[in-house]
Amino acid sequence: MKMLNEITIKNMKKNRKRSIVTILGISLSVALICAVTTFVSSFQTSMVNRVKAKEGDYHMTISSVTNEQLQYLKENVQVEKIGISQTIGYAKTEELKNEDKPYLSIEALDEMDIQSKGITLTQGRLPQNDQEIVIPEHTLQNGEAKWKVGDTLTLPVGERTIEGENLNQHNPYLDGKDDDSLETFTAKETKTYQIVGIMERPSFENYSAPGYTAITKWEKPLAGKTTSVTLSLKKPKEVYSFVKDIEKNLGILGENIDTHDSLLAQEGIFKSDRTNETIAVLALIVIAIIIFTSAFVIRNSFTISLTEKTRELGMLASIGATAKQIRNSILWEGVILGVISVPLGFFLGILAIGIVLMIVNSIIQGGGTPLVDHFDLTLVVSWQAIAVSAILSAIMIFISSLRPAIRASKIAPIDAIRENKDINIKNRKKLKTSQWLGRIFGVEGEIASKNFKRSKRKYRTTIFSIFLSIILFISMNSVVDNVFGFSSLEFQDRKYNLTVNLYEKTEEYAQQLTEQAKQTEGVKQVALEKRKSVIIDPSKYYTPEAIEQKGISLKNYGEQSNTVGENLQIVSLGNDVYQSYLKEVGISVEEAKGKAVLYDTNIYYQQEEGKDGSKRVSYEILNLEKGDTMTYETTATGEQDQAVTTGKKEITIAGRADKPPMGALYSGYNIAVLIVSDQMMKELGDYTLSKMIIECDNTAKVKEELYKIDTGLKEDIFDYDEQNQSEQSMVLIISIFLYGFIAVISVIGVTNVFNTITTNMALRNREFAILKSIGMTQKEFRKMIHFESLLYGTKALVFGLPIGVLLSYGIYKVTTNIYETPYRFPWGPIAISIVFVFAIIFITMRYSMKKTEGLNTIDTIRQENN
C-alpha cells in the first residue's frame, strides 16, 4: 500500500507534463466556478453599496409613527436597526432665492437615521445637538444663499397650509400663479441654529420638494411633531411579509410605509414571487451550465492521459497489484491532484476577477469625474460558493480518476500495456473514408481525416471542450441579451443626442446653423427637420389595432361628417440624412422619388397582472402598403381656434420603414410619419421648420460651438446625453457586468481548449516524428495539421451551434416571464463563435506545431519507445 503510494508520486513526477496538464485542467474548472461566483458577489455587493450610498441604507421608511408603534418596532426581534426622525417644520428665509423652493425643511435625525439615510458631508461635521444644523449644498447653488459653516441662523419655523390642510415635502410650492391656489406659511416658533456642515443633496428630497432639507440632531421626542423611522431587518427576505404584519398588527397605513425596493432588488428580493422564481430558475440554468462545463473540464484533463494511465495500471496489475490496491493508488493520486489544483484554481479565479475589477475600476474612475457615481468595485469572495465548488471538484476528481482503473480492470493487463484500446474499429465499414477528401486536400488531408475518424476517443475530448465553450458562450450571451435586455430597441435606436428647436427661426438661419454644426469636430450626422402636419381619415387608413389603442370612435368619421380627422406628420430631414435613411430601410432613391416613406410602428408597454416588468407591444397605425395612395387634408387655424380644412391632396407610399428616422423618440412618434426628401417637402409647401437633430460624440463641445454663433440658443437646446446620464450609467454598469461575465467565461473556455489541444498534440509527438522520418516535409505536416484544425472546428460548431441556440431559446422562454420581448436570434454570438473557434484552434495548433518542430525527430521516436 505504502509502496504503491510512493510509486504513484514517482510516476506523477516522472510524467511531469501529464501531471501539470491534469492539475491545470482541474484548476481551470475550479477557477471557472470561483471566478463566476466571485464576480457576481463582487458586483452585487458594489451595486448594493452604490444604492446604499446614493439612496440610503435601510429597508423601509415608516412615517407618522405613534409612540406605541415606535416602542413596538424598537422591541421587535426581526428589526436589525431603527433610525428615528422628526419633522421640525418649514422655515422661510429671504436668503433663498429659488422661486419654487423658498423654504428650509428642517428635520431632526438621530444618529442611526443619519447613518441609514446616507448623509454625505462635503464640508464641516454632522450636528451633535439640536442647536446645530447641516444644510445641503444646493441651497448655495440654485438657492443662491450666502451661508457658510459657522454662520448662525435665526429662523421662523412653522407649517405650510392650504385651505386648512397641512402640506409636506411631497406637495410642490403653490405660488398662486398657475391656478390661483396659494399656500400660506404660518410661523409657530423661532429657532436658532448654527451651521456646522454642508452635505450633498439627500436622496430622499424629491426634485419638486418646496423645501431644502436641513438636518439637525434628534435628541429627545418632541411633542406635536410627526415622527418617522427608517428600519432594516435582520433578514431582508422578510421585508414584504413584515410590512403586511405591521399593517395588520399596528394598524399602520400602507401609504405610510415605503419599502426601499431598489436596494432590496439589488439584494435579490423582489415583490413578486414570479420574479423570484424566474430568477431562481435562471440562476439554476447558469449554475448548471457552469457546473456541467467544469465537470467536463476535469474529466477532459483525465481523459487526455487516460491511455498512458491505463498502460501504467496494466503494468501494475501484471506484476500482481490487486484491484483494490490499484484503486487506492488512484485515490491517492486524486488526493494529491486535488490538494494542489483546487487551491490553485481558487487563486487563479480570484486573481482573474481581481484583475478584471481593477481594469473596470480604472475605466470607471479614469478621467477625473467617474463614469458611474458611487460605484466602486471591490473584490468580494463568496465563501459558500467556494466551499461548494471545492466539494464538487473533489467528487469530479474522484469519479474521473476512477475511470482508468475501471478500464484497466476490464481488460487484460497485456492489452492495457499495449494500448490496444485506443484505436478500435468495431465496424470495418467505418474504415472507409471518403475519396474526395484525399483528392482535394491531398494525402495530408486524407491522413488528417483518417486520424479524425479512426482515433475518435482522443478527438472527442478536444471537440467536446470546444463544443462546451461554444454552448457556454452562446447561452450566456442570451442571458445577457434577454434577461437584461439593455441592448433592447429603445437604447439602440436613438442615435442622436442633441436637438435644437428652430420654431420661429428663418430658413437661412437654420441652414447656417446646420452647416456650422456639420463642421464641428465629433459631429457624425446633422438633420434639419421640417414638418408638415396634415389630417387623414382614420376610418379609411387606420388599422383596427390603432383604432382600438387610440380609442377612436369611427362614428364621427366618413364622407358626411364634419370632423376633420387624425393627425399625420410629413417630415423631411435634409439630403444626407434622407439618403442614409433610405439605405438603412432598403428603399432605393428611384423608388422613393416623388413618394413618401412610411414609418408608423407604435410601441406601448402593457402592464400585466402578477409580473414586475411589462410586455412590449407594437402595432402599425396605417393599413397602407408600398404603392398605395392616400388622400390627406391640409388645415389652417380658423377663426374660433378650430382646424379648418383648406384642401385635399394625394400622396403615394414608396414603402414601409422598420426603423424610425432620426429625431423620432425611441418609441416612435406615436403617430404615423411620412418621410420625404427636401425637394418634395418644398413642392408640398406650407411646412414649418422644426428642429436640428445632431448625433455627436461630445454634446458639451457642440453646444459650446453653437453658443458662439448664437448665445440665445441656450433655451432651445435639448441635451439627451445630459438628461440620460443616470440612465446611461446604469446601462454602463450592466454592460460592464455582462461583458465582464462573458469575458471571464470566454477566457476560461479558451484556456480549456488551448490546454486540451496542446496536450493532445504533445501526446502525438511520436506519431509526428515517424511521419517526418519517412519523409513528410514541414509544409506537408503543416497542411495536415491545418486540415485537422478545420475538421475539429467544423465538427464542434456543427454540434455546438444548434445546441447553443436551443439553450438560448430555452433561456429566453424562461425570462419572458418578466419581460416580454421578441426573441433575438443570436447571430452575433454565432458569428463570433465561428471566427473565434477557428482562430483559437489554428493558433493553438500552430503553437503546438512549433513546439513539435523544435524536437529532434529521432530522439522523439526513441524516447517514447522506452
Binding site: R418, L431, S455, K772, G775, T777, N856, T857, I858, I861
Partner: protein, 226 residues
C-alpha cells in the same frame, strides 16, 4: 559505384566538460547492392551512425553522401523529400502510423511524394511480405512480426537507394526474426537493394556481405564476410 559515403562523421551530445562523444570521426563507404551489418555493444554509437546515414539526425561534424548528394547540405524540407525517395528506414519498434491500415502505411511514402502507387509492385510486395490478406488491418491488429513486415514494405515501397534497419529483429522471436532477415536478404538479392542493418544478433551479421564493428564511437573492425 559507392551509393553511400560517410566522411569524418562525428556526433557529440551535451557541452564540455560533460560532452559525450557518440560517434568519433567515422569514415567509410558502401557500394551499391551491398548488405552491410553494423555490430557493436549497447551505447557504442551504431544507432547514432545509422540515424545520421538516414538523415533523421544531424551530425556535429562530417558529411554523408547518398547517390552523390551531400544530404546535410539540403534544407529541412528538401531533406525530408530526399528521405522519402532515397532512404527506407526500419525501426526496432516498427513505428507504424496507428490510424492507417497496412496498405495505407506501406503506400504512405509514395503518396506523400504525390506519385501514383505502382499497384503491381505493391501487389508483389504484399505477396512477398505475406500480407495479402491483411491489407485492411490496422497495426494493432497485427502481430509483431507482421508489423515489422509492414514497416519493411513501407521502407521498400519507393525503391530507395538504401534501406537502413535499426535492430529490425530486436523485438521479435527467433522464427519471426528469421522471416524478417530472409525478407531483407531477398530484397537485397532480388531488387539489388543496398542494405545496412544494425544488429546484436551474430547469426544475422553472418548473413551480411560485410561487417562493421563499432566501439566507443569508432570503427574498430571492417571486414568482408566469407
Amino acid at each position: 559505384m559507392d551509393i553511400l559515403k560517410v566522411e569524418n562523421l562525428t556526433k557529440t551530445y551535451g557541452k564540455k566538460p560533460n560532452e559525450v562523444i557518440a560517434l568519433n570521426d567515422v569514415s567509410f563507404s558502401i557500394p551499391k547492392g551491398q548488405f552491410v551489418a553494423i555490430v557493436g555493444a549497447s551505447g557504442s554509437g551504431k544507432s547514432t551512425l545509422l540515424h545520421l546515414m538516414g538523415g533523421v539526425d544531424r551530425p556535429s561534424k562530417g558529411k554523408v553522401w547518398i547517390e552523390g548528394s551531400d544530404i546535410y547540405q539540403l534544407n529541412h524540407d528538401a531533406l525530408a523529400i530526399f528521405r522519402r525517395r532515397q532512404v527506407g528506414l526500419i525501426y526496432q519498434f516498427y513505428n507504424l502510423i496507428p490510424i492507417l491500415t497496412v496498405k495505407e502505411n506501406i503506400t504512405l511514402p509514395t503518396r506523400l511524394d504525390g506519385k501514383k502507387v505502382d499497384e503491381s509492385y505493391l501487389k508483389e510486395l504484399l505477396y512477398i511480405l505475406g500480407l495479402e490478406d491483411r491489407i485492411n488491418h490496422l497495426p494493432n491488429e497485427l502481430s509483431g512480426g507482421q508489423q515489422q513486415r509492414v514497416s519493411i514494405g513501407r521502407a521498400m515501397m519507393n525503391r530507395p537507394a538504401i534501406i537502413l534497419a535499426d535492430e529490425p529483429t530486436g523485438n521479435l522471436d527467433s522464427k519471426s526474426s528469421r522471416e524478417i532477415i530472409d525478407l531483407l536478404k531477398l530484397s537485397n538479392q532480388k531488387y539489388h537493394q543496398t542494405l545496412v542493418v544494425i544488429t546484436h544478433d551474430e547469426n544475422i551479421a553472418l548473413e551480411a556481405d560485410r561487417i562493421i564493428t563499432i566501439q566507443d564511437g569508432k570503427i574498430v573492425k571492417d571486414e568482408m564476410n566469407g
